[in-house]
């Protein structure tokens, strides 16, 4: 048996199919993954993401510490509440984890890291904190609910406590607001508008059922994966990992090279890789032939092996198979994917595939 979030009994009550994920027992779906996916694109869905780990980083040295720890630069976070997506790299330029970090106030940050990597991340963060005046607190006391979709904010706002309601209603995308106990970010992992709500574990079941009564569709990890794939968002451990870094995972935009004197972990290795000219490309694929692309299938270009699928699946919005793939530089327009021994034609596109309910690529 795995770890259980404060919402586990809610999932059981709703008849969820439970699967093991990163050490946790999590809902895969509550009946139909496709219906859950469509609910998020068309109305509103909610995800229990309490397995993800908020980590508070406080202290006079917090900014300097995070500027060393993270490949993106928290110095960009001028306004309180602003969020930043970043990789945390190892010295070889591989990815220890990807995370979101919110600036809360001078010297006060909150990061949210992946469930399966949380222990490793905390260990890594502590190990690099020695030279900085900083305190790192794992917030295992918090639950987290993501409410996503065009109607998500309207459905969630009336359920927020009075002391955060107005601030949350005025949030711009990629900003967060907080009260004493709650933390609400206008962020997500679906390509839709919405909130990610961190709240005390004991408040979570009540909010979950109130959202359900307000017509928000409970969604499992299955829909979470097809939604993020359509949105062209990376999944740690699949699209990038400790061996393969941001420059070959479509995450070059998250590496802050300027200022040139900022010494972040992995910088030298990334620079050498960038200057070597041997970078592979990270692309989107749309299958034009029949079938479903799955991760680890081979990409072929003019009959030769040219790369590998990192994430593949069926896009419920586009009603065809899509994928993210790491391929040799210079291949463009058309390729093939080897599916069970057959070369099936695909088109190379620039992700995202879908944003705000609409196709972003020509079909």
């Amino acid at each position: 048996m795995g770890l259980r979030t404060p919402l586990f009994s809610e999932h059981e009550r709703l008849g969820a199919r439970i699967v093991a994920f990163g050490g946790w027992d999590m809902p895969l779906h509550y009946g139909s993954q496709l219906e859950e996916h469509h609910a998020v694109r068309r109305a509103a869905g909610m995800f229990d993401v309490s397995h993800m780990q908020p980590v508070d980083i406080h202290g006079a040295g917090a900014e300097a510490y995070l500027r060393h720890l993270l490949a993106n630069d928290v110095a960009k976070l001028k306004a309180p509440g602003k969020a930043l997506y970043t990789c945390m790299l190892n010295a070889a330029g591989g990815v220890v984890d990807d995370l979101i970090v919110y600036a809360r106030a001078p010297g006060r940050y909150r990061a949210v890291v992946n469930a399966a990597t949380a222990d490793k991340d905390l260990d890594w963060m502590q190990r690099h904190a020695a030279d900085f005046e900083v305190q790192i607190d794992r917030r295992s006391d918090l639950a987290m609910i993501a409410v996503q979709g065009p109607q998500a904010r309207d459905k969630a706002l009336p359920l927020l406590p009075a002391d955060i309601h107005d601030q949350a209603g005025q949030l711009k995308p990629f900003f967060a607001a907080e009260s004493t106990a709650w933390f609400v970010g206008r962020t997500g992992y679906t390509g839709e508008d919405g909130f990610e709500i961190m709240l005390p574990a004991e408040d979570a079941p009540g909010v979950w059922s109130a959202l359900h009564e307000a017509g928000v569709q409970p969604c499992g990890l299955g829909a979470r994966d097809t939604l993020r794939l359509e949105a062209g968002m990376n999944l740690y451990g699949q699209d990038m990992d400790e061996e393969t870094g941001p420059l070959e995972s479509g995450l070059g935009w998250t590496v802050a090279w300027e200022p040139a004197d900022r010494d972040f972990i992995g910088r030298d290795a990334l620079r050498r890789l960038r200057d070597s000219g041997a970078l592979r490309s990270f692309v989107g694929l749309v299958l034009t032939g029949r079938g479903v692309i799955r991760s680890h299938q081979k990409v072929l270009f003019e009959g030769q092996a040219a790369g590998e699928i990192t994430s593949g699946g069926f896009s419920p919005t586009l009603e065809r198979s899509i994928a993210l793939a790491r391929v040799q530089a210079g291949i463009a327009d058309h390729c093939e994917v080897e599916i069970r021994g057959k070369a099936v034609p695909a088109r190379i596109v620039q992700p995202p595939f879908v944003r705000h309910g609409k196709a972003r690529i020509a079909l």
């Binding site: 139909s32 993954q33 029949r290 079938g291 479903v292 799955r294 699946g313 069926f314």
Partner: protein
């Protein structure tokens, strides 16, 4: 609990087989299998005329989650595949024992049908698998 019609025969790999009474058998996947697979989004069926060995992987059902092989319950020749599944693969979810059939086969040995699992034995196999 999933549905297991008493008049069909079954395999441990979750195919059902129906005797059409005209020398052909129809093959599909059980209610239990479609439920475990989740929403089905693509089906690759065997071509008519193809000769199958018993237990040969001969069709593929892909759900939102994963691809699953379908195995020939017995040796024979494929008579027809269900054309409906090309455009509406989800028919397997909505009607696993009727409209969602996958292919028809003319068995090499007509007696092989009787050696397949009966409903009670299949139900027991599913229960054992879940324990």
């Amino acid at each position: 609990m999933s549905e297991v019609p008493a008049d069909l025969r079954y395999t441990k790999t979750h195919e059902w087989v129906k005797d059409n009474g005209d020398g052909t058998l129809t093959v599909g996947v059980t209610d239990h299998a479609q439920e475990a697979l989740g929403d089905i989004v693509f089906v690759e069926t065997p071509e008519a005329g193809r000769t199958l060995e018993a237990d040969e992987a001969c069709a593929v059902v892909e759900s939102v989650k994963a691809a699953s092989d379908i195995y020939a319950p017995l040796a024979g020749e494929v008579v027809e595949a269900n054309a409906v599944l090309a455009d509406t693969p989800e028919t397997i979810n909505t009607s696993p024992y009727e409209d969602g059939w996958i292919f028809r086969i003319s068995p090499a040995d007509p007696a092989a049908f009787g050696a397949l699992l009966d409903a009670a034995t299949y139900e027991q196999a599913v229960e054992d698998e879940e324990d």
